[in-house]
């Protein structure tokens, strides 16, 4: 209906223009038409926004308080990195346990249809044995029966994203999404970069995941439409503006996880959206366990810093980045970069600041997008007078790392990759090799 209205209005405009061109005798008609157009336009304006209005009410539903309580800003702001397994995670475990059967049911259905190559199958079975469903305490979770009830999860922009059924076809506009899909064992139907062909993911032979052309900031909506997704996952601060454009295609779920907690909450959110809470929960537990193991092995913490860029234009990662947050729990991360302002994830930074910090170990991501690999930053800086002075440089503890994974994937797999690469380099005696 509104479309027809639009066409009528455009036609009316064309008429007005023609009338104005025609000369003065037509001007009366023109004014009439103009008045009519205005009235019609106002009518549309007032009738337009019913969709957003409803969302407020939905917030109070059970879905919302599923597990996002702990995602509040306060929690992140004064988060203490030392004690890692605080109550947050414990809570999740309890609350969600009783969903397991539902999750598994759905999940097995999906496997039949789309994910023949699903690798979590065995682990699922194990879990059935492990979990005792004693605490089926509250009826709130009844609505996790996805067969009937729509799903609703609030995204990073506060928008409540609703799905009729668990999503099967996912389009990824950010490496984080690809990472989480990989962790859950689901291939996205399309992605806008090639992270999925990295050896740490599905590998270079992967061809089933379709392309999304266009720039990172302006991915082609037509390509996304052709992929026929159930949900599109984009990055906060970059893809927020696409929501309206995607409305006719699939709901947009914006992610922007802060720190390890944000990342874990994010994986659980995606788990809900895909009807795979159980797998998500499992992945989260695995990760938490692994991180704990790393942290527990460390006796004397050393100081670490992660920088990126090229030449004099370098930046420092902060604990906003989940991988760095994970590192910061197993090592000392400079105080300057332990604050986390969502609006300033990459603070301005100059080489001279490094001197005051003088970390024991420095990890460097060198940016480069061209056909040839760039000259590593650590080599670009070899003769830099401040760089030379750093303890890490003098002791040969500067490590070039893969910027694709360190820089673009902020998920569980990427963070594990970072830990496995970093921990043996920071603590070679404790971890001669990465944990299994």
């Amino acid at each position: 209906m509104p479309r027809r209205l639009a066409l009528t209005l455009v036609a009316a405009l064309a008429l007005v223009m023609a009338a104005a061109c025609g000369g003065e005798e037509a001007s009366d008609e023109a004014t009439d038409a103009a008045v009519a157009t205005t009235a019609a336009a106002e009518a549309t304006t007032t009738s337009a926004p019913p969709t957003t209005a409803d969302h407020e009410d939905e917030d109070d539903d059970d879905h919302a308080d599923h597990d996002h309580e702990d995602e509040d800003d306060d929690d992140h702001a004064d988060h203490d990195h030392e004690d890692m397994d605080d109550d947050d995670h414990a809570d999740h475990d309890h609350e969600d346990e009783d969903d397991d059967d539902h999750a598994d049911h759905d999940h097995e259905d999906m496997d039949d249809d789309d994910h023949a190559d699903h690798d979590h199958e065995d682990e699922d079975d194990d879990d059935h044995a492990d979990h005792d469903h004693e605490d089926e305490d509250d009826d709130d979770h009844a609505d996790h029966d996805h067969e009937d009830e729509p799903l609703a999860v609030e995204d990073a922009t506060g928008e409540l994203v609703m799905l009729e059924h668990p999503a099967v076809r996912v389009v990824c506009l950010t490496g984080l999404c690809v990472d989480t899909m990989f962790v859950l064992g689901v291939k996205p139907v399309a992605a806008n970069d090639l992270l999925h062909r990295d050896p740490a993911y599905w590998g270079p032979d992967e061809t089933e995941i379709g392309p999304v052309s266009g720039s990172f900031f302006e991915p082609s909506l037509e390509d996304i439409a052709v992929a026929n997704p159930d949900i599109v996952i984009g990055l906060g601060g970059v893809h927020d503006g696409l929501r309206a454009g995607l409305e006719s295609i699939a709901p947009l779920f914006i992610v922007n996880p802060i720190g390890v907690d944000g990342m874990l909450a994010h994986v659980e959110e995606i788990g809900i959206l895909l009807g795979m809470e159980h797998e998500a929960e499992h992945a989260v537990e695995d990760f938490v366990h692994r991180l704990e193991e790393y942290v527990a092995g460390v006796t004397a913490k050393r100081s670490v810093m992660v920088v990126y860029g090229s030449d004099v234009n370098i930046g420092a990662d902060t604990v906003c980045t989940p991988a760095v947050d994970a590192l910061a729990r197993a090592a000392v991360y400079p105080e300057e970069f332990s604050g986390c302002d969502v609006h300033q994830p990459f603070p301005s930074f100059s080489v001279e600041q490094l001197l005051g910090i003088d970390p024991d170990v420095i990890f460097v991501q060198t940016y480069g997008f061209g056909p040839t690999p760039p000259e590593p930053v650590s080599e670009q800086l070899v003769d830099h007078v401040i760089w030379r002075e750093l303890v890490a440089v003098q002791n040969g503890e500067v490590h070039e790392v893969d910027f694709f994974i360190w820089g673009t994937s902020r998920g569980i797999n990427g963070t594990n990759f970072v830990l496995d690469e970093a921990m043996p380099k920071i603590y070679p005696e404790v971890f001669p090799a990465p944990l299994p």
């Binding site: 234009n313 001279e352 940016y367 997008f369 820089g407």
Partner: protein, 346 residues
Amino acid sequence: MSTHPGEAATPGRTWFLVIVAGAILVALAALAIIHLSTVEPRVAPGQLPGILLGESGDRIERLVVRELGLPRLILALLSGAALGLSGAILQVVLRNPLASPGLLGVSAGASLAMAIILLLNAPVLFALHPVVALAGGLGGGLIVLVASRGARTPVEAALTGVAVAALLNGIILAVIGLAASSGAVRIFFLFTVGNLSGRTWDHVQLVWPWVLVGVPAAFILARGANVLQLDEDVTSSLGMPARRMRGVFVALAALLVGSIVAVAGPIAWVGLLTPHIARLIVIRPDARLLFPVATVIGALLLLASDVLAKVVIYPGEIPVGLCTTLLAAPMILVLLRRKNLGLNRS
């Protein structure tokens, strides 16, 4: 053009010049001290002599002041001097009070070259980046000079530069579209606006030979520039190869700017504003006086901008190019209204 180059100065003017020179020196010294003490971590101004000359201060303080603060200070001074002088040269020999690196397409050309290198990681040796920026800048300048051939008024030529810059910016955006990460875009953006943060003696070494050759050369050749200010007929009747002379000066200006662009990025508006301030002081259109004064004023202007860049949003830092715009562009507007920038001459 009521007065003639080389006319004797009155005693009153001499005193005025002495006072102005004194004021400039005091300002330079004060700004230099503030600039040096606003390193990271901050150092008290009183400690500076000890840190610079003796052994006082801890290792970090000495390093930051000597190896970062000092080269950045010198780089700010050299850049300002080179930009101011090249603006003065261009304005005099092109007889266009709006001539400046920014309005001649040099900045946009250099930015485009750097965009291609930084964002696409073109296979160019890191050590050659400055050369590429310089080549891009000269390319942009050449396009503008060709496009504005036969321009009748200074404004016309300047706006041609604006149009070329718009064209190049369109291409730069196309290149940015290819980059896959916000981080790269941010880093490139810091370059395009001009930035002195983190520069060291290495960068100073890249710049000082050019400035050391360019500045005295310009001073020596200033008499020739005076001749070029006269009408074309007069010049040719004096038997001077005007065209060749003009070419030499433009090359000199490009050389001065190019090295700066390569190290600090295209810092805007200093080259345009400085000669006009210098003219307020010098009054007579004598290049022999105008060039040195513009050199000093340029240094002062850029130093002041860089101090602002360091302190305004401390502990963050603004790229100095944004500061020069916010500082110099309004002054240009005021001068454009008040003094007309000498545009009515032609």
